[in-house]
Amino acid sequence: MLKKEIINVLKQTFYFLLAALAMPGILIVTRIVGDQPFFQVFFPLFQFSLLFYALFMGISLFSTEHGQRGMEYLLSLPYSRLRLIGQKILPRAFVVLALYFACMLLYAQGGENAAAIHSFSFTLLYFALFCISLSLSASSDNFLVLFVFSLFSLLAFLCLLFGVFWATLQARGYIFYEFEIRPFFTDGVDRYLMNLIFPVTLGILLPLLVSLFLAFRKFDVRPANTYNKRYFKIFVPVFVLGLIGSFVFSHQTLEIGYTDYFLTQDLRVVESNTYSGVKIYDEKRVYKVNIDVDYFWPFWDEGTFVYFRDGKRVGRLNTHEHTTEILYEAPREKWLDWRNWGDEQTMAFLERKRDYSDSQLVLLDIDSCDVKKIPLTGEPFKDYSNCMIFGADKVEGRRFWLMYPQGRLEEKPIYQLWEDGRIDSIGASQKWPCYINGTLLSYAANEIILSKHKEGKFEVLQSILNKEDFHFGWYVHFQKKLSNSPVNEVYGRKIYLTSDEKNTGQAYYTEYARLDLDNFKIEELDGLKGYLNLYSADIDSYYALEMDDAAHEANLYQVKEGTLKLLKTFKDVDLTSGLNSFDVSESGMLVKKGNKIKVYALPDLKEVKFKKL
């Protein structure tokens, strides 16, 4: 029986391949397609032919028996129904797979440029057509009916597939995500939907195959209606289950864009995503906020306000009234640098053209929304126009901002920009400098240079040996209030590449050190394993997250005066997966594990429950 089926299928496939090769030949010889190379004509036609052949392989499952009046003979053979259908499907599935691999091989060997359908979409349509037609094969003895019905079913399948995606996007609130069907055929599947497409397809197609196998167990020569009734009795619940499963799965796993979370001081969570917009969660409810920005980057919160920005705008979100206002918008052709610096009532950021020309320091008063701009057109910025702010301070009532050029490599100058537009060059640094507690830390070879303001200018206080090449204060991005209690320590790290313990390859290692700002001594922190992340949550305290990748554990420490106090251990987390993240803010800790978000309030890290989060 199997042998007969194999011979039949191979014979049919041989004729199909002959036709598939002859067709483009005829088109070229008759010059219908002009002077195109054979492969350019052959491959797109081959793709379409294969789709129809997959359809044919499915619907022809019993066509021989129907055509030759052999159905009763077939069913009277000493095989169970499942074995019978298995022996019929096996050679077809093998041929369908073999042709698929052949097609993909041709696709890789130059077919990409000639293809009519993208390889991913082709794969989906090809196997969907085979499964659909296979599933319907016993439903009618009329070949034409099966052919038409299979094509309609494919259409229904695509509608359902896109429907599940659309419903998921709506349910997950990705309302700004533009889901287009046309590129699906030409460019393949969007990278966000790529992970979903196989399970969702399976959820829709599997019920078809399950129904076929279950209904066929009682297949006989009665009119097709009897079989179809049984088929649909099985199909409907299994299909509904598959569809619900597909939806639930995609709802649980769909992640479009990067979803960011910001924990406010009064323990509200602000969620932002390019495609779903901004939401505010309190313990009981969730509020959707309409904000007209390219992306939402919250960087500071004060009272009921969360300050945010994108490439052109700075604004604030009222987390209690769920309203927003744009405080500043850059003029046309100008963009804001990613780093901004706030102190007291003033937010400072640089704006410039895309080519780094026409730079200006923008000073925004966050209460009155008054803006003052200081152009950076002076001589020092000629060579280093791509500066960023790393500190601000006030001396004898006069304010200044510290700037350092972006990029790596050589030693670069540090600039002090005064409010009246004066620019002083105050030294150079080989690493990103740090200004903390009125002390400027800059780097020379194996040295840290500590400077303080004295009589209107910076003076070097001390140079300390930094043989281990630690980099201190890289995490200090934003200074909230100069009046906060002074910080007497700053932490540093060094990352280096070395062979791992088993010498099987190389790995990055990180070591940490503490710089005492009272006596300027460097003290190494020992006994840490894994990756230590420092959060300058509060100007007066640090938190460190130690990740033990091997144990899938994360320990949160409070770091003070070189000692680590373990606050909490988080089990079963994997920061390397990209799905998990930890963030410590002044009010607490936000833990993201896949789609689940948990919030722990400082100081005791008690979990805060959010009903809708």
Partner: protein, 281 residues
């Protein structure tokens, strides 16, 4: 001692809304020859197809005695179902490979002078019937199911077919269940007669018992009402009554000549009786 070979329990099959087989309970014995008769659409062919697993029951079950596998059941459908595009030789090869037949017996094929490279679809009805029988015989069936086919073939091949079946019954204790409409040729074959009506067996008798229980009365006057008559044909000059069940005591009630009848007439009486009953109803 008789040995049960098939036990049919509560068998029901529907086609659409119509119940074609309705809760049938029946048993068959090894080596038994059974003829199933009935009106068109009474469920005979469906019943046979159920025994051949070509139709699967909606309810109930068919239990074959130990050792009877599906490959020991031979079924000749009234549709003479085979893979028509195959040649005779390909048909033989396929059947042999599926049923594990190592030495196919070409006797019948040779007797019919079938060309091995001839396509099955080009065979005559009679040739196909005999060819299919030769395929079934080669699998040495313990149960042979024949669905009203013999009346469609010519007298020579019909005789050949019946001879082969009788030989088979004699040599290997094969149970033969035939669905038929005409019984003149098969008069001597059946040991048991079944009559189906509306998906149920309304008669199940040994042939010899039935011969004693059904009689024909030819008369010029009507028979009394209390004489059990299953079928009557009445004209002004001639009247014919089929009495069932016949009892010797009936002769006292209605003294007349009670004639023996052949199987063909017996079946005709039962089948005709059903038509009359339906008409009166």
């Amino acid at each position: 001692m008789s040995q049960e070979i098939i036990n049919v329990k509560n068998l029901s099959v529907s086609m659409g809304k119509k119940k074609v087989l309705d809760n049938i309970d029946i048993k068959f014995e090894r080596g038994e020859s059974v003829v199933v008769a009935g009106r068109n659409g009474s469920g005979k062919s469906t019943f046979l197809r159920c025994l051949a697993s070509v139709i699967l029951p909606d309810r109930g079950q068919i239990i074959f005695s130990n050792g009877i596998a599906k490959d020991k059941i031979g079924f000749i459908s009234d549709r003479l179902s085979l893979f028509e595009d195959s040649t005779v030789q390909q048909g033989i090869d396929f059947h042999s490979s599926v049923f594990g037949i190592e030495d196919f017996d070409y006797t019948l094929v040779n007797e019919l002078k079938l060309e091995l490279n001839q396509k099955i679809k080009n065979l005559s009805m009679g040739q196909r019937t005999l060819f299919q029988l030769s395929l079934l015989l080669s699998q040495k069936p313990e149960i042979l199911l024949v669905d009203e086919i013999i009346h469609t073939i010519d007298p020579y091949l019909r005789e050949k077919f019946l001879e082969t079946v009788i030989d088979l019954m004699g040599s290997s204790q094969t149970t033969v269940i035939m669905v038929n409409h005409t019984f003149s040729e098969v008069e001597k074959i059946p040991e048991r007669v079944l009559v189906m009506e509306e998906g149920q067996f309304i008669l199940d008798e040994r042939t010899e018992t039935l011969r004693g229980k059904i009689k024909k009365v030819e008369s010029f006057t009507p028979i009394p009402e209390n004489i059990p008559c299953i079928f009557r044909r009445e004209s002004e000059f001639y009247k014919e009554y089929f009495i069932y069940p016949f009892d010797e005591r009936l002769k006292e009630k209605f003294p007349h000549e009670y004639k023996d009848i052949n199987l063909n007439d017996m079946i005709k009486a039962f089948v005709g009786g059903q038509y009359v009953k339906e008409r009166n109803h």
